[in-house]
Every structure is written in C-alpha cells, then in structure tokens.
Symmetry: C2
Subunit: 478 residues, 2 copies
C-alpha cells in the first residue's frame, strides 16, 4: 500500500462476527519505521471486519503488526509505503503553536476562522450535500459539529442513524456501535478534509432526549475509544469534549478529566483537545487542554485570557448572526463581525460564526447547515485574508505600545489596531525611528484596504474617515 504523509492508511482483517466483538475483542496494530513505533487502536466495523486506520507523519516504509485478544487477529504483519504530502492543502494535522498560535504539522501557520453547524451530519443527505456545497465557497477552515444528535429549539428531528444501534424494542444498544452511522459521518469528515476544514468534533453535549448525555462511565469510555479508533487517522479531527459542559449537571469535573485522559492515552496523533463552556469555565490550565474553546461575548478579554493561560484562544461562540427570539442567536452581522475583529486583534481566533435566521423550513445553519444568507461570512473571509497575510500568531502579542489601543504587534515589524464602534478621525502612532513603515487603512465592514502614500516612522498621527469598524495596519517597509 502506498499513501501520502498525513493521509489515512487503512488495513482490514477478517475475524469473528459472533457474540459482541465491540465489547469483547481487543484489536489494534503497532506501526514501526526507523526506531519509532506507534500503537494504533483498531475497531470492529461489523460483519466480521476489523480495521486499523493509520495516519503516518513521516515518509518511508512503515511496517505493522497487529495485536488482539483473538489469536486470529494477532501477529498479522504488513507495511505501508509513505510518500511526501503532495496533495494541495495537505499540511498535516493542526497543533498548538506556543504560546498562543496554531500550526499545521508541516509548519504552515493555521489561523482558525470557524463556524458552527452542530448536527449538519444528522440531516437528510440532500441537506448535508447542500452544506458541503456551501462550505466549499465559505471562508471557514474549522467547523464545530456533534457526534450525537441534538434535542433543542430548532433541533427536533431524528437522524437516520445514531452512534449506537437500536435494539428490537427501540431502545439503544449501548454495548454496540453502528458502523453505518460512522461510515456516513466519516464520509463528511473526508469531504471537510478535502476542503481544508478542521472538524472540531463535539463528543458530548447536554441537549438530549435519547439518553446520550447520561450514559455510564463504562459506556462513555468505550464510546470515546471507539471514536478515537475510527476517527483519529483523519488529520482534520479536533476533539471537543463538550458543548456547554457545565450544563451537564449530573457529571462531576473528575469525569470530564477522565474523558480527556482516555483520549489523550488512546489518540496516537495527539489531536487538539478542548472543552466549551456555557457559564462556568473548565480549568483550561490542565495539561490535557491544548487550547481554549470559549463561549463569551466579552471578547475584549481575549488578550487577558491569552496572557493568563498561555494557550491559543478560540472564541467559538459569542452570539450568532440572526433574528431568532433567543438572545444568543440574534445579533447583527455588524456586531458579530466587530466581536470577531476584537477577538483577532487581541490575539485570539475568530471561530464563532453561526447563522440563525428564521425560515419556513426551520433549517438554521447553526443547527442543520444548508445555506448561508447573512452578511458576516464575507467579512470573515476578509478577516481571514488580512490575518493570513500577517506574521504567525505565535509571534504576535496584544500590546499598547504603538497605539493608544490594544493592538496586535510584532515589535518593529507589524502592527494592527482595530477601532470597532469607535470613529476617531485621527489616531496617534508611536513607531520606532529606526525603520520605515507602510500604513494601511482597513475598512473591516466595507472590506477595503487603502495604503497611505509614503512611508512613516517615529511618532505621527494617522487620519481616518471618522466612521466605525476601521482598522490600521502598519508594516515595516525597509
């Protein structure tokens, strides 16, 4: 078998299909190259099929040998030849880039611009296809999405399949998994991967009428390990342990800790791990938390969180563009765009897109995917473009050195200040005398960049048009 680096190498074995292999058969493989070995969990795919998926992170020949509680599945060997990553967009998985950035495994910086469509993979296939078509043209490189279906306002429909199969009496068989569900889910993850979109997979959430929010610790652990075994070989997978973890009232913090530890131990690639809050924050200083997944409208605090935690800060929810009755889903495109720019110039990641405009089909993007009609996606695209031209996040610090406002700065090189609902006609700038700089006036709402004539150094004032949503970018020119 020949695959490229950071793609999925899948090997399949025939084994017993009697009893309950989900519960009773341990299975996996150790992959070796040079002096390295990687222990990769396998999974039962139904119908006597046992699968190991492997995502190699280096080129050359990887040899494997299976291990199992079943002798027939144990000691099988083979190899995978791994070539350089040549597929466009294959930069490997995303990791934290200390102190507060993200970086692909190949060293390319990753600036997270995210949206949310919680249960888009739980909708009819035609709607899912529509979502994929929308995402193909949208500016997002990360999407938050659930494994379990959601029971909530505008989220009333049942999916075709679930993580668990149903028993004859209609109840869920929590001792098995439904390979049909996972195969369909994986197809969508692969489509996201092909579009360069990270799948921020929400493993648990409180919005539930099926019992998935209240399973036993044993079932939860089995579910986590099965998810890791099936999904971790996709380079675009991130683990989000919860949406609004603090609303799962019955679960003590120690159980959440244990979930992190299970995935940390099982995931051969150490994908990103986070947990999203409603009101109460999980302790993000814990070593297994790779970055902050924040719900908050208080985005003026992003620079403080960054300084406090020394981890990347993803603002994943700060109220959605929309017009529904609920306060979390009816801010203007202007206000969402403003919050995302505030987030970004304070050194965080603008991952809180969501759209909640009412329509006759009750098909709201934030829940079901489909189409986007709002005014903010174009502004997310512009924001992403500006930041993808910027120095990498790990080199930038929110400071107040050069502007009288918190601005993102790389000393002596690059500066970006954003004024939101402020409308100054002038702002003071205090640059080093020792270099020359270009000054750009950015209109974040009208999506224009205008370079001021000439070069600048030392202390001076920049004239602005006296309207809101402006930014000033300064780049070293000599």
């Amino acid at each position: 078998m020949k695959i490229e680096k950071w793609s999925v190498g899948e090997v399949e074995f025939a084994g017993p299909d009697g009893g309950n292999p989900f519960l009773n058969v341990q299975f996996g493989a150790v992959f070796r190259t040079g002096g390295r070995s990687v222990r990769v969990p396998g999974f039962y795919d139904g119908d006597g099929r046992y699968v190991v998926r492997f995502m190699p992170d280096s080129t050359g020949r990887w040899e494997y040998e299976t291990f199992s509680s079943e002798s027939k599945l144990s000691g099988q060997t083979g190899s995978i030849d791994v070539t350089e990553a040549t597929t466009k967009g294959n930069h490997g998985p995303v990791y934290a880039d200390p102190p507060a950035g993200f970086v692909y495994a190949d060293g390319t910086p990753f600036f997270a611009v995210g949206t949310t469509a919680y249960v888009w993979t739980h909708q009819p296939q035609a709607v899912q296809d529509q979502t994929v078509a929308t995402l193909a043209k949208a500016p997002f490189n990360k999407i938050r999405m659930c494994l379990f279906p959601k029971h909530y306002t505008f989220n009333e429909n049942d999916p075709e399949n679930y993580v668990f199969p149903k028993k004859g009496d209609g109840s869920f068989d929590l001792e098995r998994f439904d390979p049909e569900f996972f195969r369909a889910f994986e197809k969508r993850i692969e489509e996201l991967l092909a579009m360069g979109i990270e799948a921020d997979l929400i493993l648990f959430h409180p919005y539930d009428r099926w019992g998935f929010a209240n399973m036993s610790p044993e079932v939860n652990a089995r579910y986590l390990r099965y998810a890791v075994a099936r999904l971790s070989a996709y380079r675009n997978v991130w683990w989000s342990f919860a949406n609004e973890w603090d609303l799962v009232k019955e679960r003590p913090v120690s159980e959440w800790d244990e979930f992190f530890r299970i995935v940390e131990a099982a995931d051969p690639y150490q994908h990103l791990r986070s947990i999203h809050n409603c009101r109460t924050w999980y302790d993000h200083t814990k070593s297994w938390v790779t970055h902050l997944s924040v719900q908050s409208s208080d985005v003026e605090s992003v620079d403080l969180w960054r300084r406090e935690y020394r981890k990347p800060v993803c603002v994943d929810e700060c109220c959605y563009e929309g017009d529904i009755p609920k306060g979390w889903g009816n801010i203007t495109a202007e206000e969402l765009t403003r919050r995302m720019w505030e987030t970004s110039v304070r050194g965080g990641f603008p991952a809180a897109h969501g759209e909640t405009y009412m329509n006759d089909d009750d098909q709201l993007w934030w829940a079901k995917g489909g189409t986007l009609i709002g005014q903010s996606p174009a502004r997310f695209a512009f924001l992403r473009e500006i930041f993808e031209q910027a120095p990498r996040t790990c080199e930038l610090e929110p400071k107040r050195n050069v502007f009288e406002y918190t601005a993102l700065e790389k000393d002596g090189e690059w500066y970006l200040a954003y004024f939101g609902f402020r409308q100054p006609r002038k702002v003071s700038v205090n640059l080093p005398d020792s270099a020359h700089f270009a000054v750009d006036i950015i209109d974040t709402w009208n999506m224009t960049v205008e370079e001021k004539a000439g070069t600048f150094s030392g202390s001076f004032q920049v004239e602005l048009p006296g309207r809101p949503y402006m930014a000033v970018r300064i780049r070293r020119s000599t």
Copy 2:
C-alpha cells in the same frame, strides 16, 4: 423678605474687612420655624460683606439669628416669609428615592438624563452664554461640571478667575477665596436652576497644573465648607467629590472619607453626594454616599450594581460620542445611545452624554460647552420622554420574568425590554392571564412608538421588524 419654598433667601451683614475674614471669622445663622431649627453656614463675600443663604423647605415664617466669632455679626435677627413653590419647575432639590430612584422634594420623580461639560464655566462669557442657549434646547436635566479648571487634552486655556485669588507673585492665596469667581459661577448655577438642570458639582479632580489637586487637608476642608456655605442654598446643587478620584494618587481613601463627612456635616439640605471613578471604585456602601456615579462601559452590569448597592446608579461616563483619537471620546451616537438604553432598562440613569467631535476651535462640548452637533442628544430626549411616561424608578425592578431578556418591570403593570444590537423578528412574552395589556414597539434610534393593534395577555410572541435598537413596552390596559 418673602421668597418661595426651595428658593434662595439671602441675608447680608456688614462686618470687619481687615485681616483675613475668610480665615478668621466664623459666621452663620440659625433659622427657626415651628419647632424646627436649621443651622446654616454663612460666608465672607469680600469688602466687609457677610452673607447667609438659606433654602427653606417649608412655608410660613422662618426667623433667624446670626452667630459669629465677631460680636458685631452675632445675635442679629430677622425673618423670611416663605410661600408655596409656584414657579414652574420648582420641585425642590433631588434626593435618593430608595431603593434605586431619585425624587424631587415635592414627590415628583426625577429621571436623570445627564451631560458633561467639565469646565464650561471657565470659558469666555460668550461661550458660556452659548452653552446656556444650547442647554435650553437640549434634553438634559443634569450636568457634570467642575469648580476647578482642568488641565488636560483640549483643556489648555486658563479661566478668568479661580476659586482662589492670586497673590502679587502670581501664586494662589489658598487662605482666601475669590468672590468674583463664585459670583460668576453662581450666576450659571442659577441659570441651570431656571432651566431645571441639576448642577452635579465636581469638587476635586486630578487634571491640574495649578496645585488644586494637591492642597493640604486644612485648605481642602476650608474650600469644602466655603463651597457648601455659598452654594448649598441652590436647590439644583449635587456634590460630586471627584472626577476619577482614583487618579489622585497622593490622596488616601481616608481623606476622601473626611471630605464626605465635612460636607455631610455642613450642608443643611443634605444634597446628593457621590464620587466618580476611573478604574477603581470608591466603596459606595459607605453611608454618606447617596448614589453611584459610575464610569464604566460595562453597562450590562447596571442591574447587578443596583442589586448590590441598593442605591440609585447614575452612569455618568461610558465613552462620549465623538471622533477624537482617545478611546474614551470617539464612540458612535448609535453606541452611546445603546449604552444609555441598556443602562436605563437595567434600572440605572442615563447620565453619560458627552460630545467630543474635533473642530477648528478645539471647543469640545465635553470640556468647554458651546454647541452640540451629534446625533445622540435627540435620542436622549426620546429616552427621557419614554421614561418620564414610565412608573417611577423606585417601583421598577430589572428582572427576567416576562421577557427572556433583562427588562424593567413593575409586576402586573408595566414592562420594558430593549434589544440593542440584537435584531429578533419575534420575542416571547409571558404576561399574567388576569389582565389585558397594550404592547408598543419602540424604535429607539428612529424614535418612533407604534402600538400593536388589540390587547394582550398570557403567553404570546411579539413580532418585531428584525432590525437593531428596538424596544418593547407593555402597559396594563385593563
């Protein structure tokens, strides 16, 4: 002498003009009516003139007898006949109306809608006249203004007179006061009074090049007592002990406490007392603080402060409408208006108007007064109109009973929710079944009120136009 209730009765006596009467002569009078007596401090007005100003709070004959360290000024008697207050707008001084309202002495509710023009009385007379003309047409019933001049950006000019006279060497004589300054200042307070505008007098502030921010405790105490003796008989006077008290770095809290105690002991009428912060709050639970004078952009917390302190909350500063480089003076009219509506529906008072548009004369309203060009004053007028039609503030509570948003409520009678940059097309309302209510859709930016056809009760949804800055008011109709 015959005056009406809550107006100024002034009696004058001739006395010694040698030495330094400001320092050496104690003087005042006790006013008596029925079984009551009020001890009123007098003041030296220069040129051998000793004055007592008295603001009677009840009708009938008030007899007085002077007291003094000078025998000639002691034991003089006379009387003032006090008639009912018939002058339009004479409702007496404003007091706190527990738990969180303001009320005039005659029982009329006072809804504070305030502006700031810190040193408008320190400008040339023509500019002061212009300010008065502007205020006559403006919606404000409170203005924040300083006794001392201000040294700050856009505040560079010297006034004609100061609280203290200059000595021959150009330094200030801190053992005397300048009656010229006070007479001119009082003329402006009287003009405000005639327009129904409360003068929120800032007694100290840190923006100083003359030494007034760093006087000795003895001089500070004498200054406070002199100000009280001269100014407290004006019913529209409020005492604001500081602007940005925490920026006066040299002064311990105990000295600020002492200032409050001095004024509390000296002021016969117990005018409102507050102290305004920059970053650090003075402890507003102290008994001598009558209400909160808050600088904060975090106006979504007004309901929390109200609940915490059980005192009226004036948001006196939350960034001004303008376009100057400084962040505190360049928000849009939309954003200032939004903050003031948020303040108001959370049970606070929208007293934070200020205007800081740059102009060729460096004459910014917030500093020097003059004219207003912004878009927010018309919205303050509309806001005031809406709240002057509302139940009194002391009967209203910010709650979440009837709307899914914090709204101002008088149970079973009156409700007001405001949606700011939210743009719901519908909001849920959960009213009592037992009564019928009228529903008004208010556009706070376009300043329209539209009553929905019919009456409403119980649970229902109100349709809104799906744009920002809307409010819904509900009034009991049967």
